[in-house]
Symmetry: C2
Subunit: 914 residues, 2 copies
């Protein structure tokens, strides 16, 4: 049988740091530290496999594995010279979760296990600190009661607060040992009442219960939600770490702390962290007490401080990455409880990667692989406008826990955040956040907490999500009940309520009352520019273009490094005021002549727009797609018209005037409303479609109304002439949407080529280079890509529509059952966010291969939303596309994802360069 | 260079009967008859290739080919001892079209070419019949003027009728030679006026003009339309046959005729045809004069009659098929002008095939290949109910030109037919039909003509289309202007007008005033039963099932030979009165409990329906699909509700009562209308979808509401138990619709299997066999068919939806641009009628191969509309499916198509039987 329980301690370990799959991150780190002879309390790790076995085995650990655990426990007891449950010298252990990927605070932990009514007395005697012993015991009952026995926290809190009241204590620490014995008695009768059984006194039973509860915590709602958010598979499971207790709360010479070898928010190379004297680890992380900066540890105990710096520096060198560590000092002796590669913000990730290259710790290749492309988003997000800051009231200054600007309206609970974020951006303001707040934190633009440090729950989670966070703003008072936050500024109390605007600067820790302006980030700034330069080196010839419809977007795209426009949607130009009228006139025209007349009015506008794009993209290609949406999108809605017509006979003059105003563009006046509305409805009915997604749109419009394609082609090539004459290099690529096969393409291509040749010849520019290609967004086009490629000069995958058709899934409608599908794990990801490689991707690959077979020079790209999603970008690289195209802000993300794909190796490389 | 002009005559020919591709049907037949030493006037055939060259070469025949023609002309002149345009002994020729597939009357013909102002005199002298000569010349000018010079027929008619008036002639034949010279003078000045040039006197110029005009006639609207209707490719082109003239109109010893070796309407083995003395061929075919039955030829000239019988019998044996021939008798001498395999009706095709096997002319294999599966439709169509006939007035008895019953309302023009057929079935009533009527004939249920024989245009075209036709009902008077048809019955005039009902029996030639009842055909009748028996022998194990939702259809399906039900759409059961209320209650339910309550009421109804199907299909499988359509289909329409709510504030009591009645089922009363309608609209809005085709339907419903699938599974298996206990063998196959991958399938399969095991175990029927499989109707399901097949026990291709998704084409909406697509030849066929093998078919094949790879025992079928379309059935056979399923009436068609596919050979045979 496969080994399932791994011991560590006394400078040796069964596992090692590479075994994260089996031991989880924490277990692997403990094993590795033991092997490095670091001071680690001994223990053992139950593998992640057991977690899955536990669920498959009907919520039970099979006897074989249980016995293996007992063997490991025996080793631990020998190493400690103590026995679990031994009245004379009881071994106390912690039981912690530890998955492959860190999920801070999402799963359960139990400390001080092994205490019972007897052993607590021994601990009191041996520690010579009865208050400490009874505090440990009451904490243990509380944790165990909550996690294993599933009794609500508030039930325990009520008993504890009751005792405080009785003892007239303000702080927890004012309770005496005797008080705590009262609390314990209360807890025990609560357990008896809720479970019908006494609190378990048998230490082995305690251990088994705690182990199983940790497994079960893998499937708490918040853990599931966190994994979904972070795309962590449910099938990984968590390991369970059982480790001898060391106590940071044994008195004034004890302490506990957490830290990072560098600043995880900014990336600055500075020893970073916090500690609390006379406390257990939970006290630091939970944010209940605000801890001291780690620099003060030097004053508190210089030897320990130096030892800690030495150990963590060694660990960083060993792992060649920023370390996130936990330690406990028991009676002046340092113990390492955890080390792992630290989570960091996007800016920190980039800075650390670049600086580690400078330090010779890693090379450029590794540096490029070190940054999650999604994280770059944080560097590209806006910052607060310094001018704007000056006009607002500085409400408070807290810790710069997660960088970036956040502007929104205040909410005080996670549920409120979820309820309100759709109508306005929200900032979640909390005393401190708890793991159950995760759903609200996910939707908030930023988070402000009154308590907690740089490693508090809010700080850690926000950095993970890239959400700006100001933590531990201690001057503010949060009243979650009244839904108010107040602060005294120069003796005056300023109070903000739910819905009031708040602006956070997560990079400085400032919180401003009011709505600040923001400024775009500068992607060409120092460290990012170097980093992206390396990424581009590895990316090589694989291009990244941007989707941009107007010159302003095109200019932004260039700033973010776009090497061309991969998609210009011409219809966006038609919806604008001053244009839609002509579009409507075109649609309502009953013959080609009147249609041409209306189109003639649109021509100069389109030409001007295209000229702006060509100007911005000097020397880079610009892909322009001909008209795509169904014509009814430009007219009033059918049901609105039906209602208006139904109501018309009852309308008074005022209402009629209102109708006349609404339908003015269509020639409506008070006296002719019925005629005009009926005629309009008639045309709208003619255009009405049951499934517009599969209807008369895309190239089908250009085939029915060739004059539309003709006008667009004319606008494009007249713009080419205009701009090229200014000495700008113009590379136009005309793209036909929604073809199902080569015949539709040829029909439209002929029009484009005819007009192009005509316009260019007239301008004496016969040598002007241009391409005519097609979207591949209908499965049939992909299936017949070999014949399409004989005529098309480029393909661009429209994976939005291709996903809709390949999966038979309307993007506008599937939200109705999206949740059901996610709950039942039918979709691993939202297929409109992350390309479905198994299904849609198979079709994409097929089309690439078929297309290149008949046209080896075929230029191939993607312009669906997936073009900016890292996994999908890597897929595009792997199948041999020439470029991806995405929204301007996602261009750097795509550049990095492509670089990582290139580094990871690619079988299709030869095809692409063919 | 490839030979392009083929001479024939004097017992020899360059080509032969097999060269239909090159010579067309007529040219190949002439060559073959020459080789058989039959009396054929010599001539030459210009190949079909030249037709394409002509169009590619900008409407001109290249010099090389023209010279080749001059060479062939020289041979012809030598064979005839005459010269084209020679004043002393002019050669006269006919110039006729002749494509690979017969297109009766669709293209142009020119006779008497070679006549001019000089040669007509020679002809007058030599024939000693000036009237004949000038009649030939005026006919030639008229044909040439119309066909080559494109002058309207009515212009010529006006001159001709003017002369008749002037000469006080009633019949054409009353005009003298001198009269005809006047007509010719009139014609010539018409030509001068219209073309600005004199009528060409140069015979070579005439020949060239006629040749090119015949090529151009390949692309007349009617020819294009005919080809589209008959799925004949535009790229085939027509040949041109130039042949020495023989004259059936040389006097009373001359005649012309057409005939068949068997009856093309019934298949009866009887010499069949018609002739007209002193006439040219056009006179017979055009239906202007009603000809004599061919039996009367025996009286007229027995020797010629015997020679003709001998020749045609020989031709039938030679071609081993019914022959359609044309002949001319010039001065008592017989000439054969054409022979080809005869077009025939469905009943005739079956009878001829079966009888020829009896005669030893062909074997069973050939017999099965001889019948176009689509033609079987005619044998399966209803016939007039004899009882009903007795109650109606027999209006007229004409010729039984094309069999079958037709009941409809009268129209008098092709355009009226096209305009009206959508609102009611129409019968087209005409004096005689002309090729330009084709679009109206296509949509008519039946055709009645007052003139014309069994080989008239109406008769020939109707037999080709399988449309019932009564031709030459000479007692009726058709006034197309007044839109009336009248007939005198026993001295009383009966007049029917446009829109009146008319019933035709094309098998007896009877026409009844009024709307007759019809009876279903009997597919088990003698000759058809034998024929289908042979087809089934060749078809082997490839199954044909029927789509049937209710027991009545299932019983019909068995009668037509269905070997099971391939698709039972359970939702059709829900739309019925007494059921839809429960369905609506289920949809409006806000929780699972209320949903289950409503479902519980539907359960016994579904169970009863299923039991009926199982009963009817004793021993054959029944595939039942779980609920498929989106739920909003069961509720009132959103826009109707919006209008009603908008109008409500203005409604008086009467209107409110009407509203209350409309919405009664939803609890509406006059006093609560606003509340009820608003609540209903709220739910309808929740369910509203932008693209319902791609929305919340199919298995997605069963995943969101597992209780629906559960109820349906329970109804199915309870019905299985009920029926099996009666000793009936039940083979249920439960089918999950609209899956995109294996996970959705497994979700639903688990429910079905759980319920099935439960119900069967409770009934002590654990051994009852059943399958759970899936529709493949979403491209993703096809692309991932390998993984789907690991769980599914069968696939059934839903090619309706698969076509919609693969082509991105909504069946309900694409009619908006269907015509544009057909005109531009983007779709060869309607992809919802004939499976798109290149695109959709590629996906189907891929899914079959992938599915069998992981599950070699996978049962695979098709249940889309394509399952009854012969080309698609053959495709299904070829890719290795196990069966097709189609509507009951199309089952025999599918059986025959499958047999033909089996005979034609199939590479996937091994896969299917694996």
């Amino acid at each position: 049988m496969k080994k399932q329980v791994y011991s560590f301690g006394n400078g040796t370990a069964d596992g090692d740091g590479k075994m994260k799959d089996t031991l989880g991150g924490k277990g692997a780190g403990l094993a590795e530290m033991c092997r490095a002879k670091l001071p680690v309390p001994p223990g053992f790790t139950i593998s992640t496999d057991v977690c899955n076995v536990y669920f498959q085995n009907n919520y039970a650990v099979p006897a074989g594995i249980h016995n293996e655990m007992i063997g490991a426990l025996k080793t631990l007891e020998e190493r400690m010279g103590q026995k679990l449950g031994d009245v004379n010298d009881p071994l106390l252990v912690s039981v912690r979760s530890g998955a492959k990927f860190s999920m801070p605070g999402m799963m359960d932990t139990i400390l001080n296990l092994g205490l019972n009514d007897q052993t607590v007395k021994t601990l009191a005697t041996r520690s010579n600190n009865p208050r400490f012993a009874y505090d440990c015991y009451r904490r243990f009952i509380q944790m165990y009661g909550n996690v294993v026995l599933e009794i609500g926290k508030h039930d325990f809190d009520a008993i504890f607060e009751g005792q405080k009241k009785k003892a007239k204590a303000k702080l927890d620490t004012e309770l005496t040992a005797a008080d705590l014995e009262q609390v314990i008695a209360g807890y025990q009768s609560l357990v008896q009442k809720k479970t019908g059984k006494a609190f378990p006194q048998d230490a082995m039973e305690q251990l088994q219960g705690a182990r199983d509860a940790v497994f079960r915590s893998w499937f708490t709602d918040r853990a599931i939600h966190y994994r979904k958010m972070n795309q962590i598979s449910d099938s990984l499971g968590t390991a369970v770490n059982v480790q001898a207790m060391v106590f940071g709360n044994l008195g004034e010479t004890s302490a506990t702390g957490v830290g990072f070898t560098r600043n995880p928010a900014t990336g600055e190379k500075a020893f970073y962290g916090e500690f609390l004297e006379n406390a257990q680890g939970e006290d630091v992380v939970s944010g209940v007490r605000t801890p001291h900066p780690i620099s003060e540890l030097k004053t508190w105990n210089e030897a320990v401080y130096n030892q800690l710096r030495e150990i963590t520096t060694m660990l960083e060198k060993h792992y060649r990455d920023i370390q996130d560590f936990e330690f406990t000092i028991q009676d002046g002796k340092l113990y390492m409880l955890q080390t792992r590669n630290g989570k960091r913000t996007g800016p920190a990730a980039v800075r650390i990667a670049v600086e580690m290259v400078g330090e010779g710790l890693i090379d450029k290749r590794e540096a490029v692989l070190r940054v999650d492309p999604q994280q770059l988003d944080q560097l590209l997000h806006p910052v607060l406008d310094p001018k704007s800051k000056k006009t607002l009231t500085l409400l408070a200054k807290g810790l710069p826990a997660s960088p970036g600007a956040a502007v929104g309206t205040i909410v005080f609970t996670a549920n409120d955040a979820v309820e309100k974020f759709k109508s306005a951006p929200v900032i979640l303001v909390r005393k401190e956040t708890v793991p159950d707040d995760i759903h609200g934190m996910e939707v908030a633009k930023g988070i402000l907490t009154a308590r907690g440090g740089m490693t508090s729950h809010a700080a850690v989670v926000c950095r993970g999500m890239g959400t700006p966070c100001v933590a531990g703003a201690e001057t503010v008072t949060v009243d979650e009940h009244k839904k108010e936050v107040s602060v005294s500024i120069n003796g005056k109390t300023v109070t903000l309520k739910e819905g009031d605007w708040l602006s956070l600067d997560g990079s400085t820790g400032e919180a401003f009352a009011g709505q600040a302006n923001t400024l775009d980030a500068d992607p060409a700034s120092g460290v990012l520019a170097s980093f992206m330069g390396w990424a581009d080196e590895f990316r090589g010839s694989f291009g990244v273009r941007a989707n941009a419809d107007i010159p302003r977007d095109a200019i932004a795209a260039r700033k973010f490094g776009a090497e061309g426009i991969g998609l210009c949607r011409t219809e966006h130009m038609f919806f604008a005021e001053g244009r839609i009228e002509h579009m409507q006139a075109m649609i309502l025209a009953r013959d080609e002549k009147s249609r041409r007349k209306a189109l003639q009015r649109l021509l100069p506008m389109q030409r001007k727009d295209f000229a702006g794009l060509f100007q911005a993209m000097d020397g880079f290609p610009v892909v322009i797609r001909t008209l795509d949406p169904p014509l009814h999108e430009f007219l009033p809605k059918r049901e609105d018209l039906m209602v208006d017509i139904a109501v018309l006979p009852y309308a008074d003059l005022k209402k009629k005037k209102a109708f006349a105003a609404t339908y003015q563009k269509f020639g409506a006046e008070v006296k002719n409303l019925k005629t005009v509305l009926s005629a309009l409805l008639k045309r709208v009915e003619e255009l009405h479609e049951f499934n517009p997604m599969l209807g008369h749109r895309g190239c089908r419009l250009g085939i029915t109304y060739p004059e539309i394609t003709e006008m667009q082609a004319r606008a494009i090539f007249e713009a080419v002439v205009l701009v090229a004459r200014k000495g700008v290099k113009v590379i136009p690529e005309v793209m036909i949407p929604l073809i199902g096969g080569v015949k539709e393409f040829v029909n439209q291509k002929e029009i484009v080529v005819r007009v192009a040749e005509e316009v260019l010849a007239a301008a004496g520019m016969k040598d002007q280079h241009y391409l005519v290609g097609t979207m591949i967004e209908i499965p049939r086009a992909a299936l017949t890509a070999d014949s399409v490629a004989t005529e098309a000069q480029f393909f661009s995958f429209g994976t939005n529509d291709l996903t809709q058709t390949t999966m038979g899934l309307s993007r506008d409608d599937y939200t109705k059952f999206q949740q059901d599908y996610q709950d039942r794990k039918i979709f691993a990801n939202d297929p409109f966010a992350v390309l479905d490689q198994e299904g849609v991707g198979k079709l994409v690959k097929m089309a690439v291969d078929l297309g290149r077979k008949t046209n080896p020079k075929l230029e191939i790209g993607i312009c669906g939303e997936h073009g900016g999603e890292p996994n999908s970008v890597q897929f595009c690289y792997r199948v041999g596309m020439n470029y991806v195209s995405c929204s301007p802000y996602r261009v750097p993300i795509a550049r990095l994802a492509a670089a990582q794909a290139a580094i990871s190796g690619d079988k299709s490389e030869t095809m692409r360069t063919a």
